[in-house]
């Protein structure tokens, strides 16, 4: 089991593997050649290797199984497509980005790229060097998809491939997208990327059915973008960028609970907005983003600190 992937997937795989192993173990004790519980019992001619593997059963017991009875569990998307379209009931997700803390370390970007298998040269999170006018101080501004409440990208999509869920997250169904790229022209925040070529992915990932909640695997000729990691949220965990940032720039939370957290600190969302003068980007366009920014005040490091990471 140790060579399986880390994180949640391995946990799920581990549990189902354990259940399977338990069954197989029971089978092995009565008939050491055939596995009578398998639906493909006839086809399954297993010869025990004699090598035992320790597993944790569903009731928490440690059990031992012959390696020959272990079968890889095919990946299953965490939710069905229909569920992914509805969203998590009762939630309204928001993100707060504290510009005063961003040093352009790009850990958020690295984590996001890694977890979503984003193609070389493309990013779902971009850290932009912003300067309002010639004589004002520059600052680093991480941008993600804003998960707009009036999303222009959703309005223009001809086939409902990009859609807005009831919890405020805007997702993409790569199995439906026709690749017209109208959404890219419509998004004023330029957050969407397109899979111009066949994405380069590890074999196991490329084989998986597309899941709108993980946005994996990306498919040739369709669009992709930041998805607020709804698969993590569904399990009560934070999006990858939030946990990856060592400076605690990103806060994530639920507007209905009025709280946001970056893992270390938790704030009341409304207080944070009021006390630190939160704002959103391009408010005048009427897109009503779900990503809020805290102004880049009181920065205790110069902008140059992040310059070495700036890819321009």
């Amino acid at each position: 089991m140790s060579e399986l992937t880390n994180g949640s997937q391995s946990r799920r795989a581990f549990l189902s593997g354990a259940a399977l192993a338990a069954v197989s173990a029971a089978a092995a004790s009565c008939n050491h050649l055939k596995d009578p519980f398998s639906t493909q019992a006839a086809a399954l001619d297993v010869t025990p290797t004699g090598e035992k593997v320790k597993l944790l059963s569903v009731d928490g017991e440690v059990i031992e199984v012959d390696r020959a009875f272990l079968k890889p569990v095919p990946h299953l998307p965490s939710v069905t497509n229909a569920e992914a379209r509805v969203g998590i009931p009762g939630k309204k997700f928001v993100m707060v980005i504290d510009l005063a803390r961003c040093k352009n370390l790009k850990r958020c970007q690295a984590a996001c790229d890694h977890m979503h298998h984003i193609q070389d040269g493309q990013n779902w999170i971009k850290v932009q060097k912003m300067q309002e006018s010639a004589h004002t101080a520059p600052y680093w501004q991480p941008t993600t998809c804003m998960h707009c409440d009036e999303p222009p990208c959703v309005k223009v999509c001809p086939v409902d491939a990009t859609f807005k869920r009831q919890d405020g997250i805007v997702l993409i169904d790569s199995d439906r997208c026709i690749g017209c790229r109208f959404c890219m022209a419509a998004c004023p925040y330029s957050t969407r990327v397109f899979n111009w070529n066949e994405p380069v992915l590890p074999k196991e990932i490329a084989k998986q059915p597309y899941c709108a909640e993980t946005s994996v695997p990306q498919k040739k000729g369709t669009v992709g973008k930041c998805d607020f990691c709804p698969d993590m949220t569904r399990r009560g965990e934070l999006p990858h960028c939030v946990s990856a940032c060592p400076n605690g720039v990103f806060f994530f939370g639920d507007l209905n609970e009025d709280s946001v957290t970056n893992g270390a600190e938790t704030f009341r969302f409304s207080d944070l907005m009021r006390d630190k003068a939160g704002y959103r980007l391009m408010e005048d366009l009427g897109t009503r983003p779900s990503v809020y920014y805290l102004p880049p005040v009181n920065r205790n490091f110069p902008i140059e600190a992040g310059e070495e990471n700036d890819k321009g």
Partner: protein, 435 residues
């Protein structure tokens, strides 16, 4: 008297029946087919390797294909102008031009639809547009209106053709021709009796009236593909009218070019006369003026205010990297034609032909200038992207496909000219008798 009319009728029919291609014609068809084949090969590569073979990237995600699409839609509008508007205005002189205008319209609209499919990342999912189509998306409006326009244009070509098809079937010179089966299939039911003529006339009238709003719709909707976004340069309430005025100009340019070529190739000086060129010339001047007016309001007003966002875009057009192309387009497709056409000498066939070419080429570049620079000026800076994402120049595959589609359009027009009489025979005879 009877005899002379009959003789002249014979003469008209002889003159106007479709003819085999000569040497030049064959060469022309051969060259166009080759260009199409290269385009097809490029498209095969694009299907196989993905849209990555184009030079489009995440910022400039619409490029040559979409400008070509807008160009085709623009050209197609002329069918409605010449056939419907002039007809309803009771302008008689345009009769010999109607058919060629309809042919251009049909060819252009066909390739507009095709080039959109070429632009899709997932063309095999085209049916999703019907299975999951959502009416709030401007693309769906476009699909609806393009299909409608295509069918109306086909009918407007077909119905007036019926009397001519009867002539084609009956006439001994064409009776043994390879297209005879096609003619019979299309028109053997046509007897030309009063009942049928009445129905056909009514139908044509109704079509002429319906095609006008549809034609305005098709180009307005195409402009809305852009105007429904927030991008600088597209975010305009004027876009529909601006596009339509440009389309009429581009389309009449195309008709002028076609008129000249057909007249030269088939020696039709009696049917497409100098007078036609003169009148078309006056129309082109008028349309160029209208288009210039819209250009001024489209660029001058934002330039007066220079809002942030528009700023970078407009500077780039007026004095930056795009300045040469921008001013050249304005000059070639509007100012110069206007000056030339103001003189009666400028409205003679040859200068008109040159003006037509200038207008069409200018129109094509204009579409490119509308599409690409806007995409190069997003609201947030282009950041964290490879260098190739920051600029755009079409790859050879894109050029090949775009040229292939243009060649394909011309090929369709050429074939239609080969199969059907380019100047309506029946109507010409009718008018002759009336005089």
């Amino acid at each position: 008297m009877e005899r002379t009319i009959a003789l002249r009728e014979e003469q008209v029919i002889e003159d106007l029946l479709p003819r085999k291609f000569g040497k030049t014609g064959q060469l022309w068809v051969g060259v166009l087919s080759c260009i199409c084949l290269v385009g097809l090969y490029a498209y095969y590569r694009q299907l196989r390797y993905g849209l990555g073979v184009t030079a489009m990237r995440d910022y400039v995600s619409w490029g040559l294909y979409i400008s070509n699409f807008v160009f085709f839609v623009a050209i197609s509008l002329v069918g409605s102008l010449i056939t419907a508007i002039l007809r309803l205005a009771n302008v008689k002189w345009s009769t010999p031009l109607t058919r060629i205008a309809e042919m251009i319209a049909i060819a252009a609209i066909m390739f507009a639809a095709l080039i959109i499919i070429v632009d899709m990342g997932r063309p095999e999912r085209l049916l999703n547009v019907f299975a999951h189509g959502r009416i709030q998306s401007p693309i769906i409006w476009d699909v609806v209106v393009i299909t409608t326009y295509f069918f109306i244009s086909c009918l407007l070509l077909y119905l007036p053709l019926l009397p001519d098809i009867k002539i084609l079937i009956d006439h001994q010179r064409t009776a043994t021709r390879p297209f005879q089966r096609l003619y019979r299939f299309l028109g053997s039911f046509w007897k030309g009796n009063t009942g049928q003529v009445a129905i056909s006339d009514r139908a044509i009238n109704i079509l002429c009236i319906t095609i006008i709003p549809v034609a305005f719709g098709i180009h307005t909707v195409t402009s809305w593909l852009f105007a429904t976004t927030f991008r600088p340069g597209w975010d305009s309430t004027n876009f529909g009218a601006y596009f339509i005025s440009g389309a009429f100009l581009a389309g009449s340019g195309a008709v002028v070019v076609a008129m000249y070529v057909v007249r030269k190739a088939y020696g039709m000086d009696h049917y497409i006369t100098d007078d036609h060129f003169d009148k078309m010339g006056k129309i082109v001047v008028l349309l160029a003026l209208v288009y210039l007016y819209f250009n001024i309001s489209e660029y001058l007003l934002p330039a007066f205010k220079m809002k942030e966002g528009e700023d970078a875009h407009l500077r780039e057009l007026f004095s930056g990297d795009w300045a040469l192309r921008f001013w050249a387009t304005i000059f070639i497709s509007m100012l110069l034609p206007m000056v030339i056409l103001l003189f009666p000498k400028g409205r003679r066939p040859l200068p008109m032909f040159l003006v037509g070419i200038m207008v069409v080429i200018g129109a094509w570049f204009k579409r490119y200038i509308i599409v690409v620079p806007s995409m190069l000026h997003p609201f947030l800076p282009m950041h964290d992207v490879p260098l190739s994402y920051k600029s755009y120049f079409p790859s050879w595959e894109e050029w090949a496909i775009a040229c292939g589609s243009l060649a394909g359009g011309m090929l369709v027009i050429t074939l239609l000219i080969r199969i059907f009489p380019i100047v309506p025979i029946h109507e010409t005879i009718e008018e002759m008798k009336a005089n």
